[in-house]
Symmetry: C2
Subunit: 513 residues, 2 copies
Amino acid sequence: MSDAAASAGRRGRSARRERRKAGPGGLSTPYITRGIPVFEVLSDEGAEKIEAQTDRILAEIGIEFREAPEVLKLWKDAGADVDGERVRFPKGMLQELIKTAPSQFTQHARNPARNVEIGGKNLVLAPVYGPPFVTDLDQGRRYGTIEDFRNFVKLAYLSPWLHHSGGTVCEPVDLPVNKRHFDMVYSHIKYSDKPFMGSVTAPERAEDSVKMAQITFGEDFVDQNCVMIQLINANSPLVFDATMLGALQVYAKHNQACIVSPFILAGAMSPVTVAGTLSQVLAEALAGCALTQLIRPGAPVVFGAFVSSISMQSGAPTFGSPEGSLLLNGAAKLARRHGLPFRSGGSFTASKLPDAQAAQESAQTITATVQSGVNFALHSAGWLEGGLCSSYEKFVMDSDQLGMMHVLAKGIDISDEAMAMDALQEVGPGGHFLGAAHTQRNFESAFYRSAIADNNSYEQWLADGELDAAKRANSLWKEQLRAYSGPELDPAIDEALLTFIAERKASFPDSNV
Amino acid sequence: MSDAAASAGRRGRSARRERRKAGPGGLSTPYITRGIPVFEVLSDEGAEKIEAQTDRILAEIGIEFREAPEVLKLWKDAGADVDGERVRFPKGMLQELIKTAPSQFTQHARNPARNVEIGGKNLVLAPVYGPPFVTDLDQGRRYGTIEDFRNFVKLAYLSPWLHHSGGTVCEPVDLPVNKRHFDMVYSHIKYSDKPFMGSVTAPERAEDSVKMAQITFGEDFVDQNCVMIQLINANSPLVFDATMLGALQVYAKHNQACIVSPFILAGAMSPVTVAGTLSQVLAEALAGCALTQLIRPGAPVVFGAFVSSISMQSGAPTFGSPEGSLLLNGAAKLARRHGLPFRSGGSFTASKLPDAQAAQESAQTITATVQSGVNFALHSAGWLEGGLCSSYEKFVMDSDQLGMMHVLAKGIDISDEAMAMDALQEVGPGGHFLGAAHTQRNFESAFYRSAIADNNSYEQWLADGELDAAKRANSLWKEQLRAYSGPELDPAIDEALLTFIAERKASFPDSNV
């Protein structure tokens, strides 16, 4: 069956069993495998036109690799035209290089039941990445701390709908810039057993991240398997800077996955049109992805695209815009045509509150994410204020919506049990299905249960205190943190990690640059 | 070009010209014609399995047509098996009957520039239908009045993104039940020039609606053209009641469009599964649509499906659920396979406030509406509280999102101007596109401008009063009503309508049944 058909009888008792054996929140599979087709708004003709323009961009305009002489040497040796820091690529060169990259790979978690498959029909959902601020309804907006960081790691661990612990769930601004990566990576390993991301803010911090992974997984294992995935942004338009290139080289060398992501707000960092922007996205992604293969052929790499638009009136970034959805959808098709896993999307918004704007914009982006065939989605939960702020309330609201996305991605079950002919025969015209045998067999797993939506009557809602969704979310995340109980971590590994961190921290002075 | 390609140069100056010549709010086309493909989550195999089950439902279980002997006679004469009020249909009978129904038709507006095409690649967006209550942030929730009714007609008229004036935008509870249809139909004709809907609550009220349309459009014109579209709900499961059948007969006889809509909350009025529900939806829709063709072959009719689910814990209706999106999407495919225009979707929510829940649920349903290939969408703006309440704030919030849906539905422009190669060449690596000639040529029409989203910095947002989206929407609808200026109505027609209404109202006593 081409639909996501559960075999007859899978629902009911066996579904309950599946939920029981699952981890926190009842997760039975550690990632989404889409049962619905990919939605494509870009025609093949459109994709070909864009690819032809990308070839011209790469050959005529080229890309700059700044303050990275070793990268320029790699390009030169590979046959590119290197002019200062500008590199131009003969037609087809990058497409040839990326052929050694896997179209799908496993990122291992320290709990193997939580390994994720990145690529193909799979979608891995990870939390927000990068905000310096955090906010909640009680304390309002303030700089993030390591306590906030740990809280978001715990909330991601507890969510049955997040498959990944992510990376910089917020910036722990209370720790020195040059040492906070130790506490961040340690928090992911300690407070969660889901897969995670390493530091990219300096080559030595990338090496520290790899070392901590080696302590956790074993050196040989890390060399042969992907245990970390990293976000490497292009400095769009058409530039890669020294910091990102430094991290990329460390991770590719160690066989760890890079997500090479043009970071584009169309109209400012790319042309003001979807098609023009897509041709630039493809050029940047191809160049960065190909570079990983020059460093270590076969290293896992993901075609990334952080794409939205700006307000042409104020210049402010906008999110959840229809143009953003079209960009995401088009870029996904380009990645598929190049045989690479694709990262994009999330639950974006420019709103400062977990209000209707936040929900509407996030719903638009996460739906586009699921339908367009994204394989890895950062920012799936908690993103607020254009990515400047991690919101506790929005984290659990987004997570709830991710649960709905799991159902949507399954598609329509057309098994005999789902056809429910016996219910129709039993009930007949004018009857009621609540008491039907088929309903009794299936009601428990029938419909997604939202943790936040209030579907009660107006009168009941009044009696419950007239709460809006944000206030209900406020209770929910506090309840979850109170109930948090972490996964086991081998005490020997824990001690080795803490010893490594203490020694490394003591070996150089704190700094905030 | 298979993408929605504007020819080079269409943007910029000509786009500005288009906006100027358009009606209120800059609408340049009176409905959406999709440039994106339809998204189908149901496979052909799944559709065939559902259709086979529908044949069995129709032949073995049948459908009841209650207190409508003339309908039973029609079915008997047509060869159906009539047993009391239960009618069973030989395989293929209904499919044969609906072949006389048009796959696409024009609903005429009194302003011909606002005529809508219902069917094919077109989508017509209409406001909320049916709520007894209205609410706004200032006055809170209360029963609707004719003043509220007029206000919503005005807001729909002013929205560039609503193509239709709708029907019962709220119930004017201050008017007697048996006479309020006069004021409702008159308000649509007087305060808007967009197409509208007639009354279905009794056959004589349907006749009154037709008479008012005849005064407005001319008797012959009405007989030969669709000028009204009506909502005929099935009393699911598998029942049509006398009220709806009475209205259906009046409108079909007068060549006016019926939307035959199973009204289904899955789990209560249909099986607890998507596939089972779809087989029932198809049975009910086919029966109702075929009946219109028995009455007047060739009369316009729309395959409708109001579908959502219930909470299996509380029994309360739920909206914006993933199961609702799958139902909508599957039903759209079934309608297409039967060559009928399709009505479904809107901006649904169970929330009692224009909050994050409302926005998230509405975003999910309206996106499914646009992508699934819906041709006519009631409830596109203003729906709150499971349809019990029309919200002023949500009306303008939804309308804003409909604007985004217009952009999404266009797809990706791959014209040479949209490819923007000159911008990429002009700017180059590390540059900025804001000042590029291509950006200057295109910025004005480049991105959708939300009337409600706040994309400003946190600091600016603080300075602006820390408003959430609902509060900004509150200012917006009040501004719009203040600025409302209605369309011209021929004074002779206006007088004839008022005279007809006065005479009819005087001819029978007020009643609230």
